[in-house]
Amino acid sequence: MSAAVSTRPVRVRPPWWRRLPVLQQLQQSVGLQRGMLVAGLVITGIFLVVAIFAPLLAPYRYNQLRGPEGLFGAQQPPGPDHLLGTTVGGYDVLSRVIWGAQTALLVIIVAIVLSAFLGIALGLLAGYIGGWFDRITIVIADAIYAFPSLLLAIVAAIVISGGQSSLWGGILAAAISITVVFIPQYLRVVRAEVLRVKSEAFVEAAKVAGAPTSRIMFRHVLRNSTRTLPLILTLNSSEAILTLAGLGFLGFGIEPSAAAEWGYDLNKSLSDVTSGIWWTSIFPGLAIVLVVLGITLIGESLNDLADPRLRARRKPARTAEEAVAAEEPVAREELGEVL
């Protein structure tokens, strides 16, 4: 392949960081679309910072019930000691909202790593091998996909933790139950892409050249089948947060002494609402909405930029290199270039 590239007219590649999935789209976007993408990136960035530095940012521990002056007291309205008040269980709302970000992030990471790994592997196999294996996998995936994901997650949560759990037990339970629901999505998308790429000339060429199947699958097919993955990744992160919150709301979350979880806090605030106590529910709820909003904004923008029907006018290229950069993903596929 290197010989082929050298005979073509000189094409300067943009530096690697400009070819990263999200940054590349950021450069292509204009106007409102760019605004939405930037807003999403900012919100998600804040979420990541809060999640990582929760121990430094939170005024108290997530399971702390008493300060230097004794117990916090239950359902205290927002005030100087507790900026967002305290819950019915006597925890500090602000601290639990901040620590909740960490729990959410952990669940997202575990769920996505697991489901992406298993889903991509199954999708590759189904798409590449085809035949009966493919049909059976797809029927199973369809059955799971069509089913209400929350119900499946409940069943999975019962199996994994028996309902109540410690920090890691709870995180794993939530993550694995979400994984069960997500595998079909990765599988379908990767499989469809594999089917598309499989018939391309460069795969044929590699076969003729005698490359082993595993090499063709990973280097030629997989590397060229991953263009829709960033989109599913964002979709699944937001769905992971919603599923975790739903599980927590139904009482399958993580015990308050083990970690802070937004859904659990919302469940406990159910009776507060009737008596007009708003701070115990509004803040954890807003945290969920904001994080999902941020991640979804990124996903939506990526989707629009990838869909020619929805793409707004791209930013006109200022230089020849930029024009090439904008067409880069397509150009790479047509070339069958692997690296």
Partner: protein, 362 residues
């Protein structure tokens, strides 16, 4: 089920995976699609059965802390949970096939009876939510498509994402707080006030669907009461789907607005409103019909949360109750039953889509 893969990619890349049969037609499609129901139900029921049994037997789970080991062993033996798992599985499959989903452990009621008692409430809630979704989602989607890439479009899209980003139970809590607690316009929870409930129970042939029953009583106060109780739950659950519809309609109307026949109609002097409503919207509605199947599954999942939030005594509320009692036979029964309902609705929706759009058939 076969046309849509993910909410954000509504243009149906899922069909790419299905091999197109030569020839065929509607009847062939109907038959193939009908036969596909069985593996779907079979897979889900099997999956749920084995997952639930991994935790051990249901008797220990629900009564383990209340009975002595001897009593426990006796109960387990009586219920047959000490037999080989494969025997239990085959027996369970046979039961499901004949429409028997077992009895709950906590109150010993047949699960099918639980369905008849509480299913109508869930049906009513899902129906209202779909109405909310249509009324909100479709017109707003058209507006967003027409003002594409302008501020109206941007704010509507953010609204759609907010609908999706807000968990139904949080939406419910906020609606409750604002309209029931602060403004006191609407009731806090339940399906009807006690007085109306009593009136409805005196009916000779109650349907379980409160609105129909209230109309049967002929009292306008009862009808208003039932409707007032339904507004907030329907909004909380319906907005979730409204966001999906908004996005779908927007994407598809944008697609059809750029077609030649729309230009042709515009040059003939067709008004802009009529253009969007008739020429662009109609072809854009078919994808909506295909996603309704998936949406109903999502609404059933959301109903569990909404019903818990509003104490709406339906299947979801009952499921949450059995979950809290760790009655896993009941949970398994309700989940398996919902699997059947989801498979059937998907079948019906796919058939309607195939009749409307010949491209769907394969």
């Amino acid at each position: 089920m076969t046309t849509v893969t993910a909410p954000a990619t509504p243009s149906g890349e899922g069909t790419a995976g299905i091999k197109r049969a030569r020839g065929g037609g509607l009847w062939r499609y109907l038959l193939v699609r009908f036969l596909l129901i069985f593996p779907t139900i079979f897979i889900l029921v099997t999956l749920v059965f084995f997952l639930m049994r991994l935790t051990g037997d249901p008797i220990t789970a629900s009564l383990g802390d209340r009975l002595t080991p001897d009593q426990l062993a006796e109960r387990i033996h009586e219920a047959g949970y000490d037999r080989p798992i494969i025997v239990q599985y085959l027996e369970y499959l046979g039961q499901v096939f004949t429409g028997n989903f077992g009895n709950s452990i906590t109150d010993g009621r047949p699960i099918t009876e639980v369905l008849w008692t509480y299913g109508s409430a869930t049906l009513e809630l899902v129906f209202y939510s779909l109405i909310v979704a249509f009324i909100v989602g479709i017109p707003l989607g058209m507006v967003a498509a027409y003002f594409r890439d302008r501020w109206g479009d941007a704010s509507l899209r953010v609204f759609a994402i907010l609908c999706y980003a807000t968990p139904v139970f949080f939406a419910g809590l906020v609606l409750k707080l604002v309209f029931s607690v602060w403004l006191k316009w609407l009731p806090v929870a339940g399906r009807a006030s006690t007085r109306t409930e009593i009136k409805l129970q005196q009916l000779d042939h109650p349907t379980g669907i409160y609105l129909i029953d209230a109309i049967q009583t002929g009292s306008s106060a009862a009808v208003w009461d039932v409707l007032a109780h339904a507004v907030l739950p329907a909004l909380a659950l319906g907005l979730l789907t409204a966001g999906v519809f908004l996005r779908l309609v927007r994407t598809n109307v944008i697609g059809t607005l750029s077609r030649d026949y729309v230009d042709a109609a515009r040059s003939r002097g067709v008004g802009e409103f009529r253009l969007v409503r008739l020429h662009a919207l109609k072809p854009a509605l078919i994808p909506i019909i295909t996603v309704i199947g998936l949406q109903i599954a999502m609404l059933l999942g959301g109903a569990v949360l909404t019903e818990t939030t509003f104490e709406w005594k339906g299947l979801g509320f009952q499921l949450a109750y059995y979950l809290s009692k760790r009655d896993f036979v009941a949970v398994q029964g309700i989940v398996a039953l919902l699997a059947v309902i989801v498979a059937l609705t998907n079948f019906i929706v796919d058939i309607i889509a195939a009749i409307l759009d010949p491209r769907v058939r394969y």
